[in-house]
Symmetry: C2
Subunit: 443 residues, 2 copies
């Protein structure tokens, strides 16, 4: 086989909705998923919400012959829920835990305990090195009043950073997972614009699946139609993304989704639809198309850079909203804590009065005294934990905001370089534009 032969790769992604004892028909569905994966023999299988290691081990055993290589990404209290199965040897893995992931006291939303993360696996596809990423971002529980939006934007920011910084040595990049974002949502635009990743649904030559590539559909029996409002038919929030490099082009030949039911089975694999993309990798020598590509892209680069600056600016605004919110919450926690302390102090003073004014009678029934003291301590404990938590949230948001500011500065610098080069007339520009400090990202 020549080095330059094209390589076909079938990639599968599914949010398995695998909460043991809580998700409906969990064991039956895992059995179905295992059967299907065994039959389909995809090259790369990316799974999310495999919350129980036992279920991972069940699949691992089932797929031992067709997918001898696998990895389960551990993090947080419950785990990241991320797993990868591969026909091809996994050379290396790495996990990045998002710095923000909801609130521990929103236990019914559960995201915090899941320890959301992005997992990376490096494997060889033919002669090419592929970096494969699997991730699951924080859920959107309400589109109108989405209090988790800043968290999800920061997750998208960290996801694009992680992919960009770890994929420099990769010939091919493949990303799959439940992004919990609509195609045109801020975080999605941020991810695609910064990394140059392409959406297999938009790029595919052939498509077979739900209308508009939706992956959370009203026809799925596990979905409550109420939750989908105002998107009656469903939404597209699961993706398979890809990117080539100077050493390989990637094309999506066909793509499909399940359609809310599975033939010969009473229910579907999950509450999400499964995605399958058939990618074709075309290796080439870097010189072959490198310069060619540069020329072709030069015209659009300026526009893309300007668009990226806009997107990052929008993300930065969103993070700032989150910052204000976290600051307010921390302030409220601090104020409540101080009130708890004052109450405790007051109680102690009242209790001390009879001891000081000897002989006076006990002003407090003993029971109420202890109950009140317990209440004060509970307030103090809770508020200090919340204070610490909000401080950590603030630090993460500030960190992301800082990095975004720096990113905007670098992009503007690059844009300036491009503009000057395109004008072919740098000396005709007013001097203040050439001044390096003009787009200084540092304040």
């Amino acid at each position: 086989m020549s080095n330059m032969d094209s390589v076909r790769v079938r990639v599968f992604s599914l949010n398995c909705w695998g909460i043991r004892y809580l998700s409906k028909y969990c064991p039956q569905r895992y059995a179905m998923i295992g059967e299907m994966l065994y039959k389909e023999q995809h090259d790369i299988v990316l799974l999310q919400e495999v919350w129980s290691e036992k279920d991972y081990l069940f699949l691992k055993k089932k797929l031992a012959s067709c997918h001898p290589h696998s990895h389960y990404f551990r993090s947080g209290v419950i785990g990241s829920g991320l797993a990868i199965f591969s026909k091809h040897r996994i050379r290396d893995t790495f996990l990045y835990r998002y710095s923000l992931n909801g609130y521990p006291y929103m236990a019914h939303h559960g995201d915090w305990f899941g320890g959301k993360a992005v997992g990376m696996a490096i494997l060889n596809l033919g002669s090419l090195t592929a970096n494969v990423y699997v991730t699951h971002l924080h859920a959107e529980y309400s589109r109108e009043k989405d209090s988790y939006l800043p968290h999800r934007v920061v997750q998208a920011w960290e996801l694009q950073q992680f992919i960009r910084h770890t994929s420099a040595g990769a010939d091919v990049v493949i990303v799959g997972g439940d992004l919990n974002m609509h195609p045109q949502d801020l975080g999605n635009r941020l991810l695609r614009a910064y990394t140059g990743l392409q959406d297999s649904y938009l790029e595919t030559a052939k498509f077979d699946g739900c209308e508009n590539g939706m992956t959370l559909i009203a026809d799925n029996p596990f979905i409550s139609k109420k939750e989908l409002v105002p998107f009656e038919k469903g939404i597209r929030i699961d993706y398979i993304l890809f990117k080539g490099s100077s050493k390989a082009d990637v094309h999506c030949d066909s793509m499909s989704t399940t359609k809310g039911s599975v033939p010969n089975h009473p229910f579907p694999y999950s509450d999400h639809e499964a995605l399958t993309a058939e990618l074709r990798l075309e290796p080439h020598t870097p010189a072959e198309t490198g310069s060619d590509r540069k020329l072709k892209n030069k015209d659009s680069t300026t526009g893309k850079l300007a668009e990226l600056v806009d997107i990052v600016t929008e993300a930065r605004t969103e993070v700032k909203v989150g910052l204000h919110c976290a600051e307010r919450m921390r302030y409220t926690a601090a104020r409540t804590g101080v009130m708890g302390l004052a109450l405790l102090f007051l109680e102690l003073v009242i209790a001390a009065v009879p001891y000081l004014a000897l002989g006076a009678e006990q002003p407090f029934p003993r029971t109420s005294f202890y109950l009140l003291a317990v209440l004060c301590f509970a307030i103090l404990l809770t508020t200090s934990m919340l204070y610490i938590f909000y401080t950590m949230e603030l630090k993460s948001l500030q960190g992301a905001e800082d990095q975004m500011r720096l990113g905007i500065g670098s992009l503007q610098e690059k844009l300036k370089g491009f503009c000057l080069a395109q004008l072919h007339n740098p000396s005709g520009r007013p001097p203040e534009v050439q001044e390096p400090g003009a787009f200084e990202p540092e304040e």
Copy 2:
């Protein structure tokens, strides 16, 4: 200037010991540090333990003219304490938070609250792209009974992963910081062997500083000699490491450390000594030395790979020790919790007896009843939090162990390839060695 001119880079690293109100002479020392940095005009300044943002901003203002580019890495409750100042534009930054970092209840050691991390900054040095890392690993409080060893080994593991995976696009890699590990400690060997980073103290042509390059010395007035036992004179735990690439060689022309005192000042900059390395980057075209280098290195590659397998195996053993320990601690927490619950149940039963057997007298003084109930709840709360915490610790340790197993498998695979190639006689080998499953990392 030709593209091929060598570039000289002066790198500085210091653990600033900057705990406001607790570290001795903190404001005075920051003033001294600011003065010195302003005078010395290093290209890159890597600082650790800058715990207060106010102190970072003080330095930023002071160094605005000589180091216009800077970044403060935020994480955890207090922050990561990491800062970078640079003469050269910082193009991009990224932060990785270590998954393990001590215990929150060991508040007097404080590491957990610091949110230890590794920060990366990408900058241009001449025509070269440099990835610069600054980090601070978990402190070693007792060398004999180092209960944090598994945490530090996992941090070293994650540090090498982060550097390896993010530096594929870099021409030059520079790492500085307080690793809290002696030169031959497991984590240090793991880091150097896996990444190929070189120690500027060992590679330097000229050295001026403390004996054996020590950075925590008995002569420093802020150091209690008791803590250094059994290393009376001091230890070397701060490092500047570097690595070239196919596009550039890196040499260390000279290196120096401070010597426990600063001329004309009553006390030194910090309890750690400061490090300065003068690096010389020699750009070359990839073809120039690429193949040459490969030939030169081929003989030693097998040995290095075998050594690396040994080191990772040793690290895996250490992580397993940590795993057993965390499992035991979690079990203890669970058992204590169950006992608290049993006590509460018993108390309620005893209290309920008089109500059931009507007319019997109250067996419990009311005060003791409430106090006991509060105690039970406190036990339950504490043990459940500890249980959650130890579960997270377990997940991280298991994750690292998994990755190490995978890493060992990949390395052995590579080693096998090299051995076969070196033998030039693959058919003469017994067939089971060629069997791909022989070094299978997956169980």
